[in-house]
């Protein structure tokens, strides 16, 4: 077949698959974009509102109409936030706690997920069913004995106590297993084995490179979840607070000054907003991939 006819048939295929009258391929009209803009405004207005309140004085907050533009009091309010809570210390705590949890979850999930997806061993099926069953178990409800144990060991108030309950997740193992089961061909592992590679060598040279995209997504979501957590860190280490706990302490007084609370909420949101700018695309594709994989 000559290249000319090949080009012709592919062109024909294209025009056939994307028929002119098929509405799925038509660009949608103004209504769609109007709605998309409305969703966008709905998603961002609360943050904008926190900037409006956080950059104005209390008198402006109390007036009937919300201000339309940010005022000039933002840095005064932020200074007040720094006076009230140890913002940078809490930020450092959050970074440390979330990083350690992420490292642990990703490492152990990849190891276990790889074993479940690609290695044969007695009891594999049963153990995997156990992992899936525990996906739906609300482990958060075990806080009372966890707290008792931490107190017994004298760990309360330490960041270690904050990290311990979430060092592994059933979700992580399941997620890595689902990803690796399709991505790594069994023949590749068999070949590495026949070539004399050790099991850990095969894992390191075949499993990990293949798992990298899923590891990145798992890391992103684990980090977000750890960063967001409030109940457990508030309970076990209020004197050594993470950012969320410190933030909540901004409004613990009898009289709540919303201008300070708002500027604090905004300041505390900036780290994750930065993460979103860098990795938002990955977050979107991670959520969408997770949905299809189930």
């Amino acid at each position: 077949m000559s290249s000319a006819t090949l080009a012709k048939t592919t062109a024909a295929k294209k025009s056939g698959a994307k028929g002119k009258n098929f509405s799925m391929d038509r660009r949608p009209g103004f209504l769609t974009y109007g709605l998309l803009i409305a969703f966008f405004l709905g998603s961002t207005y609360p943050l904008w509102y926190s900037l409006l309140i956080g950059s104005n004085t209390g008198a402006v907050f109390a007036s009937t109409y919300p201000p339309l533009l940010p005022g000039g009091a933002f840095w005064t309010n932020v200074a007040e936030v720094f006076n009230t809570i140890d913002f940078w210390g809490a930020l450092a705590n959050s970074v440390l706690v979330s990083s350690v949890i992420t490292l642990s979850v990703v490492t152990f999930s990849t190891l276990a997920g790889y074993a479940f997806a690609k290695l044969r061993f007695r009891g594999r099926q049963g153990l995997l069913v156990f992992v899936i069953a525990t996906l739906a178990v609300p482990t958060q409800l075990g806080i009372i004995p966890l707290f008792m144990v931490m107190k017994e060991f004298g760990w309360t108030g330490s960041l270690g106590a904050v990290m311990v309950p979430t060092l592994v997740t059933a979700f992580g193992v399941f997620f890595m297993r689902q990803y690796l089961v399709d991505v790594v061909p069994d023949e590749l592992i068999e070949a590495a084995r026949i070539d004399g590679a050790s099991m850990i060598g095969t894992f390191w040279h075949v499993g990990v490179p293949a798992a990298r995209p899923a590891m990145a997504i798992l890391a992103l979501f684990t980090f977000m979840t750890a960063w967001t957590d409030y109940l457990w860190p508030m309970l076990v280490a209020p004197q050594n607070p993470t950012l969320q706990v410190a933030l909540s302490q901004l409004q613990s007084a009898k009289y709540v000054d919303y201008t300070i609370v708002m500027s604090g909420a905004l300041m505390a949101t900036i780290p994750l907003l930065l993460l979103f700018v860098v990795a938002g695309k990955q977050l979107v594709s991670g959520i969408m991939a997770g949905a299809v994989k189930g």
Binding site: A17, A115, V168
Partner: protein, 386 residues
């Protein structure tokens, strides 16, 4: 080269060119030290092959048993004792804590609040998320930008969300009551009445999670085979009709998945009601208007020091969540099988009908392509003639 596996002899057999003596034979004949080394390697290889998988899964299982499973089970032990924060383990009281909680109006109040907030968030969220997903599931420009934009609320933490909305719902000066007053509606007592406070808290949950769920549903919509849409379109179905007849039934499993995850999370809601009204000395509102079950158990355990009864609450909530999960599971199973048809014969017929429809659609598409290629060929021909 590292360690030989139990297939070592086969492997060397494969790699050695025919005609040459096998290395096995030379080792056996010549060097006993080498032979010993080989055998040790061989044995280690087998050991490695057999037990490594357990080594890889064990960190997860050991840690999970310690920090996930043990606390959950030990909660039950605490719940059948008269246990308190300072005094430690008291005497065994059997199911007394459970009886006390089941007859406590505060426990039922917390359950009512939890379910009310959950329903007020789950139902609108599912509807709106499906709508947003359908809007995003079009051939729009700047797809990634719009997808990312609905996910922005997800990166605002629940604590920050609560602080922001707590200000907006402030009864005296908040944005919402201000706006209501400008259109001559009386201010609403968002923080001290039952239904308004539930609405306010559900709004926070909805704001943070709707876009996230919309993306999950969008992924499911995009996995619907295009042929189905095309064949329906050829049969004259408009986009609205196709949405209800094709898209919605196809994404039902994903919708059930969304509902199950929303249930597990929603029934454990804590941060939002805890921080919604800091000036209330009772957690969850002056009259416990929005004291959810986890907030109630936290108050019981760590403010009032009654670990025994708080553990009983934890276990009952645990059972409720598992029960609802199971109901969801079986419900979704029966929906799936009923949509496929009851009897096997019926199902086979349906499958055949479906196959037929797809074939029809494909042949129609193919004929379209053919006619399309004819047209292009004709045009090309015309050009070449000129």
């Amino acid at each position: 080269m590292s360690i030989m596996t139990n297939n070592a002899s086969d492997a060397t057999g494969d790699t050695v060119p025919p005609g040459e003596p096998t290395p096995d034979a030379t080792y056996r004949a010549g060097d006993p030290v080498q032979e010993k080394k080989m055998r040790r390697r061989h044995r280690w290889g087998q050991f490695d092959f057999k037990y490594s998988p357990y080594l890889y899964v064990s960190p997860f299982f050991i840690l999970f048993a310690l920090v996930g499973l043990f606390p959950l089970i030990y909660t039950f032990v605490v719940s059948i004792n008269d246990w308190d924060l300072l005094g430690g383990a008291g005497e065994w009281v059997g199911l007394d804590n459970y009886v006390a909680e089941i007859s406590s109006p505060l426990f039922w109040n917390s359950l009512f609040n939890t379910f009310s907030i959950f329903l007020l968030s789950a139902i609108p969220q599912l509807l709106v998320a499906t709508f947003i997903a359908a809007i995003l599931d079009q051939n729009i420009r700047a797809k990634t930008f719009w997808r990312m934009s609905v996910l922005i609320p997800y990166v605002v933490t629940p604590v920050a969300v609560t602080l922001i909305f707590s200000s907006a719902f402030d009864e005296k000066y908040g944005l919402i009551n201000n706006l209501l007053q400008t259109i001559n509606i009386d201010p609403v007592a968002w923080k001290s009445e039952v239904i308004p406070s539930h609405l306010a808290i559900a709004t926070m949950v909805n704001w943070r999670w709707t876009g996230y769920n919309a993306l999950i549903l969008l992924a499911a919509m995009q996995a619907v085979p295009r042929e189905l849409h095309e064949s329906a379109a050829i049969d004259g179905a408009g986009s609205l009709r196709r949405f209800f007849a094709i898209t919605l039934p196809s994404i039902r499993p994903t919708m059930i998945f969304v509902v199950i995850t929303a249930t597990i999370g929603g029934l454990q809601i804590f941060t939002e009601p805890k921080l919604f009204n800091p000036s209330s000395s009772v957690p969850g509102g002056p009259e416990r208007e929005y004291q959810t079950t986890v907030l109630y158990l936290w108050d019981l355990a760590f403010n009032r020091g009654d670990f025994g009864r708080a553990s009983a609450v934890a276990w009952m909530l645990f059972l409720i969540i598992i029960l609802i999960g199971l109901i969801n599971f079986f419900l979704s199973g029966s929906i799936a099988s009923s949509s496929e048809g009851g009897s096997r014969k019926n199902r086979r017929q349906q499958r055949r009908a479906h196959k037929h429809a797809v074939q029809m659609a494909q042949s129609k598409i193919a004929s379209n392509r053919m006619s399309g290629s004819n047209v292009t060929a004709g045009e090309k021909g015309g050009e070449s003639h000129e």
